[in-house]
């Protein structure tokens, strides 16, 4: 249901207040990482690329500095056998690292949008270094590496993503694609099936399954899946933040499509 004018006016007022207080927070503390991050997200929503990148980078720089200080403080306490307080500082540093990993992940999405894939890769690598259990970072890095034809490393990252979050359909989809590339069709089929089970109306998984069935010479199944894709043709809604990455394996899909059609 569309929003009334009054509702839109109220929402716009909230956005104004939100920005006002974020700027105020940064006026007081120019190194406030969380405030930079939130501003970056707002600018990203408005399509202001320059400010988006600026605030993401500021958030990363501030976080990194705080992390260094916290770790240094923790080390000092540890040397003096103040274990609990040292642990407290290390835990704070850990929380900061996770936040910094999140910023790097978002910045990588921003770079992917602009096709700056090397920068995106660096951000994802940083994100993983800061928070090794970030499933989305592993998955997206895997997809980027897959596009760069670094299949072995790509596979390691996507498998790691699945270790961390087995319910992520995009990881299954991309692992399926990697396996298909390695001619491991049975496992490819298994992962595409799981991807479809998790997100039944996600056309790309179904389409890839159709292509795989052609390769596996299961024309009837392929037809069934193609028909399903057509049924879902209206289902073109992007999926969360990963809409850009979903388009990344496109080159592979095109190639596959061609090879499928030849068959």
């Amino acid at each position: 249901m569309s929003k009334t004018k009054q509702e839109l006016a109220v929402q716009s007022k909230y956005l104004e207040d939100l920005k006002f207080h974020l700027f105020k927070a940064l006026d007081i503390d120019p190194k406030y990482a969380e405030a930079h991050f939130q501003l970056a997200l707002i600018y990203q929503g408005n399509g202001n690329k320059r400010e988006t990148e600026f605030h993401f980078k500021k958030a990363i720089a501030s976080n990194s500095k705080t992390i260094r200080e916290l770790v240094k403080g923790g080390d000092k306490l540890l040397k003096n056998f103040q274990f609990q307080h040292a642990n407290n500082l290390f835990m704070k540093a850990q929380r900061k690292k996770h936040h910094c990993a999140k910023v790097n992940y978002e910045l990588s999405n921003f770079y992917i949008n602009q096709n700056k894939l090397d920068l995106a890769q660096t951000c994802l690598e940083n994100s993983i270094e800061l928070h090794f259990a970030s499933a989305k970072s592993h998955r997206n890095l895997g997809i980027l590496l897959f596009n760069k034809k670094k299949y072995d490393t790509a596979r390691i990252h996507i498998e790691k993503a699945l270790d961390l979050d087995y319910s992520d359909h995009l990881s299954h989809l991309n692992l399926g694609l990697i396996m298909k590339h390695g001619k491991d069709y049975l496992n490819a089929e298994l992962h595409l099936l799981i991807a479809m089970e998790i997100k039944p109306k996600f056309s790309i998984s179904i389409f890839e399954m159709a292509l795989l069935q052609l390769i596996m010479k299961n024309q009837l199944d392929a037809k069934k899946y193609y028909e399903k894709v057509l049924e879902n043709a209206t289902d073109t809604q992007p999926v969360e933040l990963d809409k850009d990455l979903r388009q990344q394996p496109a080159t592979h899909r095109n190639k596959n499509k061609e090879s499928g059609e030849k068959r």
Partner: protein, 251 residues
């Protein structure tokens, strides 16, 4: 010059080796802010009577103030050695150890102070603040409550108890780290802290955070704004108020 001071000075003139007179005079001078003179008299008192625990304690306190921690430590320890049941020595030594980031020893001294004087509200409060391990959650809560029970006007104890309860980080029975926030109880203590001191910006800020979690947006906004009104340069309050607007806008 007060009569007491005059008479003490006369007593010292008559008997320069009168340790108690030097000590009492030092306390008067300390109260008047004449610290150098106070230190001189404490040193004399100790010189005359080396086993004078209170003189050592006050000298340590002076040294602590001027950040001569090494000397302060020596005299606090001496004072404790001479009179192990002098709660103040343990308490203030504990506070100095916190400054020096020697938290474990600070904790032991605070515990000792509470053992000696079971009505030492500040010692309970500071001891609770030192118990940051999730394993000590229940103990910390108990000590804050004891401090408040002894002195219910202890606004800081209400505030930090509120923080402990709203954080809720503790170890379960089997030692697993769990988060079990006690928001309603936390609200009670933040409100008590505010009732004691309406300009306690941190209490308003943390109360607002709890209301935000409970999706009580009006009260949350009210307290964030109050915190900002009290402290214009409260960056965290501005940030969290911004996040509140984001949440309301998305709701």
């Amino acid at each position: 010059m007060s009569n007491v001071q005059k008479h003490l000075e006369q007593a010292i003139q008559i008997n320069p080796k009168f340790a108690d007179a030097h000590y009492e005079l030092a306390l008067i001078l300390k109260k008047k802010g004449e610290n150098e003179k106070s230190i001189e008299h404490l040193l004399k008192a100790i010189d005359i009577q080396p086993e004078f625990p209170k003189a050592h304690f006050h000298l340590a306190s002076h040294m602590n103030t001027i950040k001569d921690y090494k000397t302060a430590k020596k005299h606090y320890i001496k004072s404790i050695e001479l009179d192990p049941f002098y709660a103040d020595s343990h308490f203030y030594y504990g506070l100095m150890l916190v400054e020096l980031e020697e938290f474990e020893d600070a904790k032991k001294n605070m515990e000792k102070a509470t053992d000696i004087d079971q009505n030492y509200s500040l010692a309970y409060y500071h001891l609770a603040r030192l118990l940051i391990d999730p394993e000590d959650y229940t103990k910390a809560k108990k000590y804050y409550l004891t401090a408040i029970d002894i002195d219910e006007k202890l606004e800081e104890a209400h505030y930090y108890l509120g923080k402990l309860l709203s954080g809720g980080l503790q170890n379960d029975m089997d030692g697993t780290l769990v988060k079990k926030p006690e928001y309603d109880e936390a609200i009670v203590h933040y409100k008590k802290a505010i009732r004691i001191n309406d300009n306690y910006e941190k209490a308003h800020y943390n109360l607002a955070l709890v209301y935000k979690i409970q999706k009580n947006y009006d009260l949350s906004r009210k307290h964030f704004e109050k915190a900002i009104k009290i402290a214009h340069d409260y960056s965290k309050a501005h940030f969290q108020l911004a996040m509140l607007f984001k949440e309301i806008g998305e709701a």
